[in-house]
């Protein structure tokens, strides 16, 4: 499964890693919805680290669409919240 970390690129993550990543991902979503800034920062960092270590970076010239997308490491809770709204950050 190809995961894109915004601003970093794509990594190929084996399906076997997904349950662990899912737990962090759900935790992150709960923190975003709950407005837990500290928790959000911590979990996002942990999730990105987990994806980076579990995944194999795709070369820059690899051309494959990402199935999952993660916010950039320096994204704020508000930014991610805005991205997750129906309209997302991109209106229309």
């Amino acid at each position: 499964m190809i995961v894109r970390i915004m601003g970093e690129g794509q990594v190929l993550v084996a399906e076997s890693h997904l349950p662990g990543l899912n737990r962090l991902d759900d935790e992150l979503l709960a923190e975003i919805e709950g407005g837990d800034h500290e928790g959000f920062r911590r979990t996002l960092g942990a999730l990105l680290d987990a994806v980076r270590s579990a995944g194999e970076p795709l070369p820059d010239d690899a051309l494959q669409p990402s199935e999952l997308i993660l916010p950039a490491a320096d994204a704020t809770l508000e930014e991610v919240k805005a991205m997750l709204k129906d309209d997302g950050l991109i209106p229309g």
Binding site: V3, G7, G9, L18, L21, N22, D25, D26, L28, L29, I32, D60, D61, L63, Q64, P65, S66, E67, L68, I69, L70, P71, V80, M83, L84, G88, I90, P91, G92
Partner: protein, 261 residues
Amino acid sequence: MSGVMKRMGMIFRAKANKALDRAEDPRETLDYSYQKQLELLQKVRRGVADVATSRKRLELQLNQLQGQSTKLEDQGRKALALGREDLAREALSRRAALQQQVTDLETQHQTLQGEEEKLTLAAQRLQAKVDAFRTRKETIKATYTAAQAQTRIGEAFSGISEEMGDVGMAIQRAEDKTAQLQARAGAIDELLASGALDDQSGMAKDDIAAELDRISGGTDVELELQRMKAELAGGSPQQAIEGGTTDESQQSRTQHKFDKQ
């Protein structure tokens, strides 16, 4: 999965057209766009297949209904032959109901056939567009990659030329310095030769000094020769003069000794 990753992925896919502008690599966006077109084409093809399946199902139903209709007509005819008009009427009224269904299904069949033809045509057109896009996409990707490579080469070249410039400057400086030193050496030689500069080593003498030395050295020899001649001749006024000179020399030497003490 319903967390952030999945939702962001879904939103990005849903906003694909807008996201194209924001994607990091234009080549990726082209492939993404191509993939979306393929998905669309796939949907249209699936639509064509669905419509064709429905059409076939209708045809089967129509055949069935027509079979039943024929059967009821036969039954009515038999009933009449047996003098059972009531049964014949029942059979014919059922047949009439079936005929109505057949007419409805035939209308539906015609509509579906029209849809199928339109969709087939649309799928063919879309296929042609997707093929054209794929070709264009590959061309753009190749151009982009080439442009990237060209930029890299350009950067490398400018780096090399800067380095070469540095080397050139160093060579120029070295050449200037050499020329300067050569010019200076030439000038010094000339100045030394002309006597305008003193030779600090004391090894070389200019022409004038050498001539003076030669002349003065010669004079001493001549004077010595005359003095010796006078001694042999037994004295002369010249001797007194020469003797005085000798005394002066003696005094000078004594003075020199005294100074040393």
